[in-house]
Symmetry: C2
């Protein structure tokens, strides 16, 4: 049986995985992301890693790669975190391998959404994934395929402008969802409130998103207010997504989703309270694959030819 290789390329490491042709995970490993030479060493490193795991390249059915940047076909115009510019990722990897093995290239957030979509217990046609971490990423699945967008973008829910004003976002705008509901935003806003003297069991000496969510579950008023504020903006944002798209499912992934139903129930409540009644019944669930969503999606893209 042939094998499928999956690579989820991030700014610090590349998650790698080997699957059989049925999609069963055989092995998982990581390599360091070497950004020298405008990120071109990444291809040599992936190729070397492939040759170590599978010296007989004709055993490979295909290779799926998720990359942090907009993808059109197999082409990446720019991936800031890797140093890539105008890069045909499939060709570069085939050149590094010296073999014309089929290579499928996808945006990392899109392929994570596809991974979660394919791993979901129900057979659906449409879904969106919101990944809540340092920032907020996302991907959209429509008609059982990745919605790639005209410029390989789309699903950039973190940059939904939710309010007229607000803190400055990394993107340059103000009022972005990311500035209200990412892990970073929750920590910053909580610190600001602590500094201004809001009473809380939390301490500025020892604070992160996990600690804030635990304090909220233990009943700390400030922590609860912070978690609820994030949930409110997420509920409204999912309302916008679904008022536009009328999906079958929205999944919540990323670090903040570790808080589980304690957090997701709040998101569901704000979604229901703020969304057009005809699309209110949308199920909002927790994503299940964690950090493996990307490699799983890469594998499924190869299995299903995108």
């Amino acid at each position: 049986m042939k094998k499928i290789l999956a690579f989820d390329v991030g700014g610090t490491s590349i998650k790698c995985a080997l699957y059989d042709a049925h999609g069963a995970l055989l092995e998982k490993w990581q390599i360091k992301t070497d950004k020298k030479d405008c990120g071109m060493r990444i291809f040599k490193d992936i190729a070397a890693s492939i040759r170590r795991k599978l010296p007989q390249l004709d055993q490979i059915q295909g290779i799926g790669i998720g990359v942090p940047g907009p993808v059109t076909g197999t082409f990446v115009e720019t991936a800031v975190n890797l140093g890539w510019k105008k890069n045909d990722v499939a060709k570069a990897l085939q050149d590094a391998l010296g073999e014309a093995i089929p290579v499928f290239v996808e945006n990392d957030a899109d392929v994570a959404a596809y991974g979660e979509f394919m791993a979901h217990k129900k057979s659906l046609a449409s879904m969106a994934l919101l990944t809540l971490g340092t920032g907020i990423g996302g991907g959209v699945i429509l008609d059982k395929t990745i919605h790639r967008g005209a410029n390989g973008v789309g699903g950039e829910f973190g940059h939904f402008k939710m309010a007229e004003t607000g803190n400055r976002c990394n993107c340059g705008n103000t009022g972005c969802l990311e500035t209200f509901a990412s892990a970073t935003a929750v920590v910053h806003e909580t610190m600001r409130k602590l500094k201004s003297g809001t009473p809380s069991t939390l301490s500025l000496d020892n604070i992160n998103a996990k600690i804030i969510f635990e304090a909220a579950q233990a009943g700390d008023d400030l922590a609860l207010a912070m978690v609820d504020k994030a949930a409110y903006y997420l509920g409204r944002a999912i309302g916008l997504i679904n008022t536009a798209l009328d999906l079958e499912l929205v999944l919540i992934g990323g670090g903040l989703s570790d808080a589980g139903d304690f957090f997701i129930d709040k998101i569901r409540k704000h979604y229901r309270e703020n969304t057009f009644h005809v699309v209110k019944a949308l199920p909002i669930e927790r994503a299940v694959l964690g950090n493996d969503a990307g490699i799983h999606g890469c594998m499924e893209v190869v299995r299903n030819h995108g």
Copy 2:
């Protein structure tokens, strides 16, 4: 050559059209919407109209119908404006005709978007239409087809919740785009300002959206502020749509689009100022078909089998 029939069913009248198989318009007419008998007379009236225009039913290639409600397949769960409940529209019309002619059923806003999409001078794959009238409707085209949504909804941009609070919308929520940027909203807000004594060339005795837009073009400060406020919310809403979907084009239709570039330039400006930079280049243009978008879309759905 066979003929195509198109019917855009509204709450007060049904726009009807006859096209040849190449999509050339042969004739256009209207019939009154008779909502008695839970709206079931509509089918008899359409069937009678068809028999008058084309007594030989075997000349008909297909019939396209746009209806004001969510559509799944050929089924309409409910269309409040017509009195329909749990209605297989294709079957009802075929029964009324006594012939199993192919009938394609679509939501009216979706089919208007599809009409504009097919009439656009460039060959595109993706587009959204916002129709600005009494309310705000919309439709989304992806991969050259209507995005129908899981429940036959979607594209309900008028019910995007744009702000935490605001005037009550017909849907029951507050802060809906419709309450900021529909013709109704612009008129209401202007009247409120006039009543509170804001200086203006406008008068409470003679006011509607057209008059307000004309006053804005003539330089009236209040009218300008009102038009700009609507454009701001529309720009932000289109920003949300495109941050999620990365489209090739957004069109503005409906009564307010009659103001042309005077209005659409303001929408473009607010779009650019409030949207994630990677999707900023989106073209925003005026729709071209006016009230014929629906029948044109119905015809194209028949020609292209949906």
